[in-house]
């Protein structure tokens, strides 16, 4: 209601709601392409995604605005060159203006609109490329990073695992009680409901549409071109043309002459080619005895076609009047349609027709659906009966449930957990959870959020505490052993693994935390020792046997590659700072988003 026409302003320039909606649709399309079957329309129904799309629009506007402010311009020659380079507009490897116009028209755009948009893109590009393409990183730092990245540590690891301490860990009662008291929230069951629901979807309605075999045949006949080979017929004709400005008398005379020829042909059909050659005023076919060859529907004038497709092979018919004049037609042959083909496509046609029929009425039906669940708000039966849809029931669900999938939609769950749905057991409004899919639900049973007593969760707590204690013991033990190793004492209880080589350039997943520890370790005297708490819960002791620091060769290709990478990541950070700076400098106003339902 009364939604303003713009969603934000950037230094006074508006971003229209239309632009924003279009951007959301584009984003949705991208996601659909990226995720395929996993695509879920509710991905877009979350505020973060909407904010991200809007921020992106704002950024584009800002950059375009700034480019104008600092006096950038797009040369006509550049614009022309860019357009002519777009392969989509090429025909025979050359830019085709026709194709350009046509493709744009299909997108509902004029060349001027497209050119303005492209010019905007080029302006933004010019604003940024000079900045991102000119990064300078000092050689001092580059050399250091190159050397650190290439530094190879040869290490052994020995893990101290918490499992061995689990059984010794016995938490006492007071600890259990205080854990329960301070984690009460974790042991609360969320508010849950069991619901019944009805889904009205175009898909389902289509299945219910009755389509007769006649309708299918009719569609098949009228859309022959969609099903491969269409029926073709071969005919000959003799034409006597009637001039456009002929008088009635002239026309009658021509007709009389034509009838005379028709008599002649009927008496002696074999004479047809000869007569056609002699008398037909269709010069093209006259030469070959009136033969027109095979043709399908849609190629001849209507009256001619109707006649030709009604006749039997060998039959002679006349006079057939068309805008050209009077025809005498002889049907030579019929090339039949492949009947098997009809059976092959029959089901496909049925579905197409079902979908068409359902789609025609869907707007109206979904409105009825919405009205009925609202008017008879304490039952879903009427709407289920009216549309012949099942009333389905769910298991217990909470606000974060992912099943059943038609209900796992932010707006739907909000409606289900609303006061009127829970307290009064009213139907929820009909919500479009996906394109052409409406759902209304009704709460059957409700469990408020409830705390679980200590008795119920005690075992779980003990298990948690045991693990906690074991983890603490592991770390303590590990640190003690590490201290001893660092002091030069041997420890026979440790089982060292095979030596491995590790460096930033060859790092694998999980190596990052080890590398941090290695770099922080003093390796003046080898072997050196360090230790880390891993994310798997163990404490790993690390023995450094060898450190290979490469000599920096600033000529090597490896070095160049590394410097390029470094410049790139530095450039990315610079770009972020630049963009954030623009965003802070200009006044950007975002209108609060109104729920559009």
């Amino acid at each position: 209601m009364g939604s303003a026409s713009d969603v934000a302003t950037v230094d006074g320039e508006e971003i229209s709601r239309q632009e924003y909606e279009q951007a959301l649709r584009n984003q949705q399309e991208n996601l659909r392409n990226m995720l395929g079957e996993n695509f879920d329309a509710s991905l877009l129904d979350n505020p973060q995604m909407r904010t991200a799309v809007l921020e992106n629009l704002i950024q584009q506007k800002l950059l375009r605005h700034e480019a104008g402010q600092v006096g950038l311009a797009v040369l006509d020659s550049r614009l022309t060159a860019e357009i002519q380079n777009i392969a989509l507009f090429h025909e025979d490897d050359k830019f085709s203006y026709e194709r350009y116009r046509e493709l744009l028209q299909r997108q509902g755009m004029s060349p001027a609109m497209f050119e303005a948009r492209l010019a905007g893109d080029l302006m933004r590009q010019q604003l940024l490329e000079g900045i991102t393409g000119s990064v300078i990183v000092s050689k001092t730092v580059a050399d250091k990073i190159a050397s650190l990245s290439e530094t190879k540590y040869e290490i052994n690891r020995a893990s101290i695992n918490p499992e061995q301490y689990i059984n010794q860990a016995v938490p006492d009662e007071t600890v259990i009680q205080s854990y329960y008291d301070s984690h009460r929230q974790d042991f609360t069951l969320p508010e849950r409901v069991r619901i019944e629901y009805v889904v009205l979807s175009l898909e389902e309605l289509a299945k219910q549409e009755q389509i007769s075999d006649e309708e299918i045949k009719k569609y098949f006949d009228e859309h022959q071109d969609e099903f491969g080979q269409a029926e073709e017929r071969r005919a000959s004709h003799i034409l006597l043309t009637v001039p456009v400005d002929a008088t009635e008398e002239q026309k009658a005379a021509i007709k009389a002459k034509a009838e005379q020829i028709l008599e002649q042909v009927k008496q002696d059909p074999d004479e047809f080619p000869e007569l056609a050659k002699e008398l037909s005023e269709d010069p093209g076919s006259a030469k070959v005895g009136g033969d027109l060859g095979f043709f399908a529907r849609g190629l001849m004038v209507k009256a001619f076609e109707d006649a030709a497709f009604e006749m039997q092979p060998g039959e002679i018919r006349g006079l057939v009047e068309t805008p050209f004049g009077f025809h005498i037609i002889r049907l030579a042959a019929v090339k039949d349609v492949d009947v098997a083909k009809f059976d092959e496509v029959k089901e496909g046609i049925r579905q197409t027709l079902q979908r068409q029929k359902a789609a025609d009425r869907f707007g109206e039906l979904s409105e009825d659906f919405s009205n009925i669940v609202y008017e008879q708000s304490d039952t879903l039966q009427p709407v289920a009966q009216m549309f012949n849809l099942p009333v389905q029931q769910s298991d217990w669900i909470d606000r974060n449930s992912k099943e059943p999938s038609v209900v796992a939609n932010e707006r739907m769950l909000q409606a289900i957990f609303s006061e009127s749905a829970i307290r009064d057991h009213y139907n929820t409004e009909a919500i479009e959870v996906a394109p052409d899919t409406f759902v209304s639900a009704r709460v059957l049973e409700h469990h408020p959020a409830s705390a679980q007593s200590l008795g119920l969760v005690k075992d779980k707590i003990i298990e948690l505490l045991k693990q906690q204690i074991a983890a603490e013991t592991t770390e303590e033990e590990g640190k003690q052993k590490l201290a001893k190793l660092q002091a030069g004492e041997a420890d026979d209880s440790l089982e060292w693994g095979e030596p491995v080589e590790i460096s930033y350039t060859q790092k694998r997943g999980g190596d990052e935390e080890i590398l941090h520890a290695l770099f922080q370790t003093d390796v003046e005297k080898l072997p050196a020792y360090t230790g880390i708490k891993t994310n798997k819960g163990s404490f790993d002791l690390i023995r450094i046997n060898q450190v290979k620091v490469p000599a920096t060769e600033s000529e090597s290709s490896q070095y160049t590659l590394l410097i390029n990478q470094l410049q790139q990541v530095h450039g990315q950070e610079e770009l972020n700072a630049y963009l954030a700076g623009l965003r802070q400098r200009y006044e950007v106003k975002i209108k609060p988003v109104e729920e559009s339902d």
């Binding site: 006096g71 990073i145 770099f519 950070e573 400098r585």
Partner: protein
């Protein structure tokens, strides 16, 4: 290809000659026009023309860079913009690009001059902040750590805090002030984009400083 080279070089030479002959007169004319209210439309027209000319020159510069031309050609092309259209965004960008090329060619003096020009002339605050970062990087290599630190003390946009702290760390680390360098890198980590890849680089530099505790 060689024909193109010649054409571009000629274009540059021609524009240079034109500028030295007409530049001053033109400036004078502009001032007169701009002062008069009736001149506003002409002024706008003139601005549009200027933008087009600057864009044209900028294209020439980009082509020189793409081709890997000698530094002097790139610098010449950039100077046409810095001298002819100092207020244009193209001039600042041209200078940044020329500075980058200069560093690659090992000509720090030229790089410093270009970056200093940006600092003195650009009207884009973010570009000024960037130019300072790049100048500081050149100075680090020249061992002028005090200059780096005082350069980085200048007021800058909030979004540049992380990068400035990082560079301060570089200068401090290079001059042996390990504790201060560590604090600077830590500050950088606290302000840099948490998703960005660059923070890993900073983390690396910080880690290795602990080695000498």
């Amino acid at each position: 290809m060689s024909a193109y080279d010649f054409e571009e070089q000629e274009k540059i030479d021609r524009l240079k000659a034109w500028w030295s002959a007409n530049g001053a007169t033109l400036l004078l004319t502009i001032v007169v026009f701009a002062a008069a209210v009736v001149g506003t439309r002409l002024w706008n027209h003139y601005k549009g023309e200027q933008a087009q000319q600057a864009a044209d020159l900028y294209t020439v510069l980009q082509q020189q860079v793409e081709k890997g031309s000698e530094l002097v050609k790139i610098t010449d092309a950039a100077q046409l913009l810095t001298q002819g259209f100092p207020e244009s965004g193209y001039a600042s960008r041209a200078a940044l690009i020329a500075a980058h090329s200069a560093v690659q060619a090992g000509n720090n003096q030229s790089a410093r001059d270009m970056l200093q020009w940006v600092l003195d002339h650009t009207e884009e605050p973010e570009v000024k902040d960037l130019a300072r970062i790049r100048l500081a990087n050149v100075l680090v290599d020249e061992g002028k750590y005090d200059q780096v630190l005082s350069l980085l003390n200048a007021q800058h946009g909030a979004s540049f805090t992380g990068l400035y702290a990082d560079l301060r760390g570089d200068a401090l680390a290079a001059s042996g002030k390990t504790d201060e360098a560590r604090a600077a890198y830590q500050k950088a980590l606290d302000s840099l984009d948490t998703q960005g890849a660059y923070r890993n680089v900073v983390q690396m530099k910080l880690d290795v400083l602990r080695e000498h505790q």
